[in-house]
């Protein structure tokens, strides 16, 4: 126990400062925000993540949002297990033909207003996997997308920027 406390105390807080959220920063990161939600979820955002066919790179970086450096929860954003509790759907990967139905049903289960964030080049437009007998391409081929976050995979700061933009914190449509 002593060692645990000592380790915790000897590691000072490492959390990064929140990213700048002006239109310029979003544009620089290539994030497209098509539709902005207003008052509804200003205070907090519950996200349900769905991998619709990714190579797991995007998942690794989304997972990194929970580490002490990024500490997503300080912004009132948390990942929830059920789509019924979620305000937003964070989708990665090209939509594989086998995942299309599961994605659609997850989206159907969400209460409105619901937000869809496509994370990663694959989710934005199919990326390297494109469209084929096995892949339907980008997420917007299956459900309407509000925010696009490019990158392969998008680094955590860019994901953070995209998610915060989706919350409509500082940016007005």
């Amino acid at each position: 126990m002593i060692r645990i406390l000592r380790t915790i105390l000897s590691n000072t807080t490492c959390t990064d400062a929140p990213p700048q959220l002006d239109a310029h920063a979003l544009e620089q990161a290539g994030i497209a925000v098509r539709r902005m939600l207003d008052a509804q979820c200003r205070a907090s955002l519950a996200i349900r993540q769905v991998d619709a066919g990714s190579c797991n790179g995007c998942e690794l970086e989304i997972g990194a949002l929970e580490n002490p450096y990024h500490d997503l929860e300080r912004f009132g954003v948390r990942f929830v297990a059920s789509p019924r509790h979620a305000d937003a759907l964070l989708v990665t990967g090209p939509v594989s033909r086998h995942m299309a139905e599961a994605l659609l049903r997850t989206w159907d289960a969400m209460a409105e207003p619901r937000l869809v964030i496509a994370a990663g080049d694959c989710a934005c437009n199919g990326g390297l996997f494109g469209t084929s007998y096995a892949s339907l391409g980008g997420v917007d081929q299956v459900i309407p997308v509000d925010v696009f976050i490019p990158g392969c995979p998008p680094p955590p700061e860019r994901l953070l920027l995209g998610i915060l933009a989706a919350m409509g914190r500082h940016v007005r449509a």
């Binding site: 993540q49 998942e59 007998y133």
Partner: protein
């Protein structure tokens, strides 16, 4: 062939022809009528089943099966008799062959034995269509009735989970049969992230294959792209540059550490030990940031190129890296002992999710899964190709085969790999990082690499123009998934997440 082991000579005696494909990899062409007999013959000689995939060459369907022992590999190749389109199944001798055969059936239309329930197809194209041979008419995936095994008895109930899981992980379906709290059986149904990687590879130029190989499973991006590059190089008989080879090893060890750090933290987090989860995820983040600063990509994607690597280090980088290694080792040595002798943690992990040595051998697992169950398997040791020939690796072994043992193997590998990183930097030769790529020709090669998860075997065949005609990356997850089904038996449902995390098989790596 003279100093090849006896079993290899006995096995090649079954062939109609055999030739050394490359160093310690033998290709044996066999008649289809001998296919059934070869599985028991290989099994009594204690050969490990290391993969099976189909191919079409000169309009002829062929099946390749890969067997391995002591760092030697043999590729058995047979063409099903005209009209039958099928070969006998090996699943009775090598249970892990089952899913690979069904995958080959769904994509290539080759049948194995009588019963070929779909695996990768999911009803998204017709049963008699084969997307890798002829274009298919995709159809609605359909609610096909998948024949799950059922358990019956008083109070036995089922818990279906997925494909969309509760956490930030890949999709797949699990069907638990449970009595009270105890798991009687688990059946996996995978294939949900099948996105046509094998199909996309066909016709690519060698250099364009690597971005695809990098994305077979992003956590093993270095290992998969290295295996693909190695297969290409072996096919054309070129050697990557000396500097390129050391840098490849360097990148692969960094990837190993990044993944082990993440998983060690996640395993502890799954049993509620938040301290370890936070400390490890912090270390991992610092590790990835260093990679971003030096190699330009946090996960090291696209750093490997045919003939070498695409990134180089200068003196400034090397100084930074050494400081980074020193820092990591010091912090890690502070945290690691807390995990190994913290009784509440060990209490949850000891005896949880046990995989016996016999089961591990029977299922053909590799990597930490094998090493934690007492099987000394490590490509870096068994088949020391550069740069591991100059930097011998001792497999980190444990005997118990439980979650605690897997955790211990991975923890030991973190320290060992950090030291190896320094040794590789000491040994970094000057010179170019890439060999010029020769003009293409018809050829084939195999790349074997120890990724963080275990052995990756990648087969690449080039056509006359030197474009990719066949690419099959065999991820270790093909064997880890069946092992997960076995090792959760008898555990309580609440321990499934930690068992699963300790195995950490990739969905994308085998759904392809």
């Amino acid at each position: 062939m003279n100093n090849s082991p006896a079993w290899l000579q006995e096995l090649s005696a079954w062939g109609t022809s055999s030739r050394m494909l490359q160093d310690r990899i033998l290709l044996v062409t066999v008649a289809p009528e001998h296919w059934a007999q070869l599985a028991p013959e290989a099994s009594v000689r204690q050969l490990r089943f290391a993969g099976l995939w189909a191919d079409v060459r000169d309009e002829k369907l062929e099946v390749n099966a890969c067997l391995a022992r002591d760092g030697w590999y043999v590729l058995l190749r047979a063409t099903p008799l005209d009209g039958t389109m099928g070969l006998p199944s090996w699943a009775r001798w090598y249970p892990a062959a089952d899913r690979m055969q069904r995958h080959a059936h769904d994509l290539w239309g080759v049948r194995f034995g009588e019963c070929n329930p779909p695996w990768t197809r999911h009803g998204a194209w017709k049963a008699d269509e084969a997307p890798l041979r002829t274009p298919v008419t995709p159809q609605e995936r359909g609610r096909d009735r998948y024949p799950f095994a059922t358990f019956s008895g008083e109070g036995v109930y089922e818990i279906p989970v997925g494909p969309v899981h509760a956490g930030i992980i890949e999709p797949g379906h699990f069907r638990f049969s449970v009595a009270g709290e105890d798991i009687l059986g688990l059946e996996e149904r995978l294939g949900y992230v099948h996105k046509g990687i094998e199909w996309l590879a066909c016709g690519r130029k060698p250099a364009a294959l690597l971005p695809l190989a990098s994305r077979v499973s992003a956590d093993s991006t270095v290992a998969h792209s290295w295996a693909a590059a190695l297969a290409l190089e072996c096919a054309l008989g070129i050697a990557p540059t000396a500097r390129g080879v050391v840098l490849r090893g360097f990148l692969a060890e960094r990837e190993r550490i990044a993944n082990h750090l993440g998983d060690v933290g996640a395993i502890c987090g799954d049993v509620g030990f938040a301290f370890a989860k936070m400390q490890c995820s912090r270390l991992r983040e610092e590790w990835l940031r260093c990679q971003h600063g030096i190699f330009g990509h946090r996960l090291l994607m696209d750093c490997i190129a045919p003939g070498g690597v695409a990134v180089d280090l200068d003196a400034g980088h090397i100084r930074l890296l050494r400081a980074n290694h020193r820092d990591m080792l010091q912090r890690w040595q502070n945290i690691a002992p807390i995990l190994t002798d913290y009784p509440p943690l060990q209490d949850r992990l000891l005896n949880t999710g046990r995989l016996s040595t016999v089961a591990a051998r029977g299922l053909g697992v590799s990597g930490y899964l094998a090493r934690a169950s007492g099987l000394s398997l490590d490509v870096r040791h068994d088949r020391p190709q550069p740069p591991y020939d100059r930097h011998p690796v001792q497999p980190c072994l444990q005997q118990r085969g439980d979650v605690a043992a897997r955790l211990q193997v991975r923890m030991a590998e973190i320290s060992a790999s950090v030291r190896l990183l320094d040794a590789l930097l000491d040994d970094l030769p000057p010179g170019p990082i890439q060999e010029p790529w020769p003009p293409g020709m018809a050829a084939e090669g195999v790349g074997v690499v120890e990724g963080f998860r275990g052995e990756i075997v990648t087969h690449v065949r080039l056509d006359d123009q030197g474009n990719v005609a066949r690419f099959f990356p065999r991820d270790p997850s093909w064997f880890a998934w069946p092992a997960l089904e076995v090792l959760v038996g008898g555990n309580i449902v609440a321990d499934f997440p930690v068992c699963n995390k300790s195995v950490n098989a990739s969905y994308s790596g085998c759904d392809l």
